[in-house]
């Protein structure tokens, strides 16, 4: 598959995804062609006046000169109106189409697990809906418009040339063709240089942004001078590469001016030699000088937008890649609703692996009755968090079945599932707004009074009163104004206020101090009476008071049962517990 073909295919796919792009495109192009007629008015009117008036033996007839000028001006006005209308249509349809594409891509990405599974790729995903679409937009609005304008101009200028003198027109066309080949060749040579510039630019920006991000570390370790040196070296390397490419590109492209001079020379020589025998008029040859320029100028634009169109095409490819990746968690086709009472959980031989990776969870079967409080324990990397994500359907199992309230998890409508099952992850992500608004993410219709009550129910009233503006305290970008522990408190209230029937906590209080942690746990136990609660515990105190404990080790469920039984059995759990008690023993 050649590159050109695949580019065409990609564009076709884009038109299917954003149909607004293609709406009325043919009419738009036709109108653009008419509008571009303005550029050939001058050569024609000049030819007419020179041949029919200035050089006519009878001298100049002003009536005829004025009427020709009047027709030309009228043509100009029509051209302006039609051409403008065409471009406005193009702008409208491309803006609408691309905004649709942006929203579609965003929605698609939001439903992918890559955002929470591979956190380091998030920034990359953001550029799918920002810079990639922006590149497309700019291409459509600047490159695309000039491409339409330029190709209409080439078409019209060529048509007029053929009307005047086809032999000369052919010479021009051959010349233009050679010129285009020459420019393409330059472009290809330069492409390699551009690529190495991009690498150098990326590297220098990487070094620079690392230096800025790491300023606290730089200060703590006194490495200011070394950091400056490292950045200076990277910037110098970038300068050298950019300057060399710049110089090289200038030389290549300016040599095209010489080529344009050669073409004009060829027109003069051929025009005189051929024209004499073919009855070509002086006005026609003069018009050719102008028309030749009209041919070459847009080609320069086209060649310069080639670079542009290539980056637009690769942006488009990346966007399509996102849109064509399957939706991982889909709303069921044959939904089945949960009953109104409490929720039980059942895992039946569940296996999970990422598409290219080894098993993260293997053969997990377990049962949690309605209203039970269970703890899940295990070392880092044992599969606890994956278990939680499967349970709340942030991931789907590779094999096996999960039932909640007796219903296959994959058949519960997502909206219903989210309102009945709450999940509190460890990170405690907060949005850049007030504490109250963050809590409202859990239940949009909650009043301030309800939110206030929720904090008090969880014994967090004292903490709330330490905030400068209480519920109206703005938490900052990613909750940066609060400490990690405080962010977890808000996240906990946020899930709590949705009053779920199944609560899944994934180390949700790991950064909270021990005394507050204990208080919170008691409050939660009081409040979740009768509801099902699954707690992934970093502190085994939670396990001690749970109805049952599930112990994970290297992706398998290895032990399960009440705390006392597991302790007595002397397996992995009793080791973990021994670690924990020595760890928490104060004396």
């Amino acid at each position: 598959m050649s590159n050109e073909e695949s580019t065409g295919k990609v564009i076709g796919q884009a038109l299917t995804i954003a149909p607004a792009l293609r709406e009325g495109l043919k009419l738009t192009l036709f109108m653009a062609m008419v509008g571009q007629g303005v550029t050939i008015v001058t050569p024609i009117v000049l030819q007419q006046i020179i041949d029919e008036d200035i050089l006519s033996p009878g001298g100049i007839d002003f009536g005829s000169v004025l009427s020709k000028a009047a027709i030309a001006v009228a043509a100009l006005i029509v051209g302006i109106i039609v051409g403008r209308a065409a471009l406005l249509r193009l702008i409208r349809s491309s803006s609408i189409g691309l905004s649709d594409m942006r929203t579609k891509t965003f929605n698609h990405l939001l439903r992918q697990s890559v955002l929470h599974v591979q956190a380091e790729r998030r920034g990359n995903m953001v550029s799918r809906v920002t810079s990639d679409i922006t590149t497309l937009q700019e291409f459509m609005e600047w490159g695309g418009v000039s491409l339409v304008v330029a190709s209409s101009q080439v078409f019209l200028a060529t048509a007029v040339m053929f009307l005047y003198q086809w032999r000369l027109a052919l010479i021009s066309l051959v010349g233009v063709f050679l010129y285009l080949i020459l420019m393409r060749w330059f472009q290809k040579i330069l492409q390699r240089n551009y690529d190495s510039v991009r690498v150098e630019v990326g590297q220098s920006l990487g070094v620079l942004s690392e230096a800025i991000t790491a300023i606290p570390v730089v200060r703590a370790y006194g490495t200011e001078a070394a950091t400056q040196e490292k950045v200076a070296v990277a910037l110098e390397a970038r300068f050298r590469r950019e300057f060399r490419t710049n110089w090289f590109g200038n030389s290549l492209f300016s040599s095209a001016e010489i080529f344009a001079g050669m073409l004009t020379t060829a027109i003069v020589v051929a025009g005189v030699v051929i024209g004499v025998n073919q009855g070509m008029t002086a006005g026609q040859l003069i018009a050719f000088f102008f028309l030749t320029n009209l041919l070459i100028e847009p080609l320069q634009i086209v060649v310069e937008t080639l670079e542009f169109s290539q980056s637009a095409a690769s942006g488009l490819r990346r966007v399509l890649e996102v849109l064509q990746s399957p939706v991982e968690i889909e709303d069921p086709d044959d939904p089945e609703s949960l009953r109104a009472d409490g929720l039980s959980v059942r895992f039946d031989r569940v296996r999970f692996a990422y598409p290219t990776g080894p098993d993260v969870l293997t053969d997990v079967s377990l049962e949690i009755p309605v209203g039970a409080r269970v703890a899940v324990v295990g070392e880092t990397g044992s599969g606890k968090t994956t278990f939680a994500k499967l349970l709340v359907r942030l991931l789907d199992p590779s094999d096996g079945e999960i039932r909640v309230g007796g219903v296959d998890l994959a058949r519960i409508p997502l909206a219903e599932l989210r309102s009945r099952i709450a999940f509190v992850p460890q990170e405690g992500f907060l949005f850049d707004t007030t504490v109250a608004d963050n809590v409202r993410y859990g239940r949009p219709e909650a009043t301030d009074a309800e939110i206030f009550t929720a904090f008090h129910e969880l014994d967090l009233g004292d903490w709330l009163s330490t905030l400068p503006a209480g519920l109206d305290t703005v938490v900052g970008e990613r909750g940066g104004n609060l400490s990690a522990g405080e962010r977890q408190l808000v996240a906990l209230v946020r899930s709590w206020i949705a009053s779920p029937d199944l609560l899944v906590l994934d180390e949700a209080t790991s950064a909270v101090d021990p005394a507050l942690d204990v208080a919170l746990r008691h409050a939660m136990e009081r409040l979740t009476e009768g509801r099902t609660a699954v707690t992934i515990a970093h502190r085994l105190a939670t396990a001690e008071s749970a109805d049952a404990v599930f112990v994970f080790d290297r992706g398998r469920l290895v032990e399960s049962g009440p705390h006392r039984d597991l302790l007595a059995a002397g397996g992995i759990y009793s080791d973990l517990y021994a670690d924990w008690t020595t760890g928490t023993k104060s004396i």
Binding site: T42, V45, L46, I49, I54, I60, A69, L76, I80, L88, S95, R102, F106, L110, R111, H116, E120, M125, T130, E141, L205, G206, V207, L208, E210, I215, Y221, T223, Q228, E236, F239, E242, N246, W247, N250, E257, I258, M262, V268, V269, V272, V276, T281, A282, L285, T380, V392, R418, Y441, G442, R478, A484, G485, E486, A491, V518, D579, G583, K585, S586
Partner: protein, 612 residues
């Protein structure tokens, strides 16, 4: 709804900068250009020289075409004369001019490129130097994303005008030269051309100006889209687990559609002006051709002269469009430069003394006297904090969530300075140390382990000279040696964006090794092992204890096991040190401390009682 958003944005914008006018853009732009050009006067002069060559070549090219018309085209085609002997000089003239034009382009673009690229390099180096000398208080007020954008896109934008500047100078030369030449050919046509060009330029500048203002609104809308996307993707797990996808999608759609409407507005305006600007020179040409015909009839002008004028106007049409772009670039450069200047204007510098580090002194005593500190004025985080620490002691800092523990460690490492009071290491005020000297005595490890885009060994050495034995010893002590050995290239494994990804606990252990290898006189660990599994953590702390480090150690800890390893404990609550003593003493004398540290034990005991 969408249109209201647009209006709000534009209102904000105009309120912020009421003084921006085309005149102010030209005036301030001139100053900005002077600032850049002053540093590289030669490359700028050469670029302008190249532009002058280019402009002259265009004028001469149109003269050549006129001359060809009068001496070859009309005599041969219209009057039937022979062309023998005429073609060679014509070809030489046309080609010669083309070569000169090409040379002008190369000279202009290459020197302008040099000027622009060098200026960018200078500014980026200066920015980093400046930022490195500012206080953390300043960084705390910035978003890292904004600072990166300043160093990247704002520098590009701020210097954007330097690229087309020599060309613009050339265009002005070209315009003046053309008018002079046309007037010399025929004063009436010259006058017509002058009037015509003035109209074109006025429309052009007006169009650019209007479009530029709209464009700034678009930029705002664009950054809004980007920040909504960033926040939504960062919080994706939360959004999904709360079932708020639709809400977030709707929010994004509104933002994206606002951008779409702004884009349609700006591009429609731009296109409207462009269509007129492209057609206007043609209208001028047509009028001048009519005038020319009259003058030819009166015998005052040759047909070749008329062709010269028309040809020149055709060649001018494109450069004239660029005058408007320069205004854009000028206004855009000022917007970019404004953000750069805000960074340069920050003068919250860290003050340094002239004290050199004494690395050979062994563990150092640490003293903090009457320290007050607030991140934001009025919200004290630490008040009247005293701490007296003997050399070689291992101190645990314990306190409830948000009591000021981390802040205390940052002050001890001088990442921030106290608002009042002072901190002394081995009797010397830490503000008296010269730049980069204090870190040779005091090492600080935070909870967030920052790793550089470098090898494991590079991350531990951090630019200083250490042998690979020293690196390995430090890694062993930090409990990192085993997993490093298992990495694909051991200590030479590349980390960072393009390298291996490590778990939080592994990252923290490498950061710990980074401090240990330096054998600091004071080592400060702010919850530096929070992501390490408890049993591994206990092992690390035990090996630190038995290694007999030449350091005074301050460690923020929650786990009683870690606290028990410390010689002394301070209990921090309500912004100050409440008690200082051994763990046993504090358990006896400080009920708050006991409650915090024994929370789990108490809880377990209570549960047992309830059970029985």
């Amino acid at each position: 709804m969408t249109s209201t958003t647009v209006e709000v944005v534009s209102c904000d914008f105009f309120m912020q900068q009421p003084e921006l006018t085309p005149t102010s853009v030209l005036r301030d732009g001139g100053r900005l250009i002077w600032r850049f050009v002053r540093r590289h006067p030669i490359s700028f002069s050469v670029a302008v020289f190249g532009a002058a060559i280019y402009a002259s070549a265009i004028i001469v090219a149109s003269l050549v075409i006129g001359w060809v018309t009068d001496t070859i085209v009309i005599p041969v085609l219209d009057e039937g004369e022979s062309y023998t002997g005429l073609l060679l000089p014509a070809a030489v003239a046309i080609l010669g001019v083309a070569v000169i034009k090409a040379v002008g382009i190369v000279v202009r673009r290459t020197s302008a490129g040099y000027l622009q690229l060098r200026t960018r390099q200078d500014i980026r180096n200066d920015l980093l130097d400046h930022e490195l000398s500012l206080k953390m208080a300043w960084f705390n007020r910035q978003s890292i994303g904004d600072l990166l954008a300043v160093a990247d896109s704002d520098v590009d934008q701020g210097t954007g005008v330097l690229g087309p500047l020599p060309y613009a100078t050339g265009v002005i030369l070209l315009l003046v030269g053309s008018l002079v030449m046309i007037t010399a050919i025929d004063p009436w046509i010259g006058l017509g051309a002058l009037l015509g060009l003035i109209i074109v330029i006025v429309v052009d500048i007006k169009g650019s100006w209007v479009t530029y203002r709209l464009w700034e609104v678009v930029q705002e809308a664009r950054s809004k889209v980007s920040s909504v996307a960033h926040e939504s993707f960062d919080g994706a797990l939360t959004i999904k687990s709360l079932g708020r996808e639709q809400y977030v999608s709707d929010h994004f759609r509104v933002t994206s559609d606002a951008l779409r409407d702004d884009l349609i507005k700006v591009n429609s305006t731009w296109t409207s002006y462009q269509t007129v600007i492209r057609a206007l020179p043609q209208a001028v040409s047509i009028v001048l051709i009519v005038v020319g015909a009259v003058r030819i009839d009166a015998g005052l002008l040759s047909p070749g002269d008329l062709v010269t004028v028309a040809y020149l106007l055709a060649l001018l049409a494109f450069p004239i469009q660029l005058i408007g772009f320069v205004l854009w670039d000028l206004a855009g450069s000022q917007a970019g430069w404004k953000r750069i200047e805000e960074v340069f204007a920050a003068d919250d510098f860290v003050g340094y003394g002239d004290l050199y580090a004494t690395t050979s002194g062994g563990a150092a005593p640490v003293l903090s006297e009457k320290v007050d500190f607030a991140y934001e004025v009025g919200v004290n985080v630490l008040e009247d904090l005293d701490l007296d620490l003997d050399a070689g002691v291992t101190l645990a800092v314990v306190g409830p969530t948000a009591s000021g523990k981390s802040t205390l460690t940052r002050l001890l490492a001088r990442l921030w300075d106290p608002d009042s009071g002072g901190i002394r290491v081995d009797g010397r005020d830490i503000r008296e140390f010269a730049l980069s000297e204090l870190p040779r005595e005091v090492s600080y490890v935070s909870q967030e382990a920052f790793l550089f885009d470098d090898t494991v060994a590079g991350n531990i050495k951090l630019g200083d000279e250490f042998s690979s034995d020293q690196v390995e010893t430090a890694a062993r002590l930090a409990g990192a040696h085993k997993f490093i050995e298992d990495l694909p290239d051991g200590y030479e494994t590349e980390l960072g964006e393009r390298g291996t990804t490590l778990s939080g606990g592994q990252r923290q252990r490498i950061a710990l090794a980074r401090a240990l290898i330096r054998k600091p006189r004071v080592m400060i660990l702010d919850d530096a092992t929070s992501a390490v599994d408890p049993s591994v953590e206990a092992e690390i702390l035990r090996s630190l204890k038995s290694a007999a480090l030449p350091s005074t150690i301050v460690v923020v800890a929650y786990r009683p096991a870690s606290i028990r390893l410390a010689d002394e404990v301070v209990y921090v609550d309500n912004r100050t040190v409440v008690a200082h003593g051994t763990h046993e003493e504090l358990l006896r004398t400080e009920p708050g401390y006991a409650r915090l540290v024994q929370a789990y034990e108490d809880d377990a005991r209570r549960m047992e009682q309830e059970a029985s």
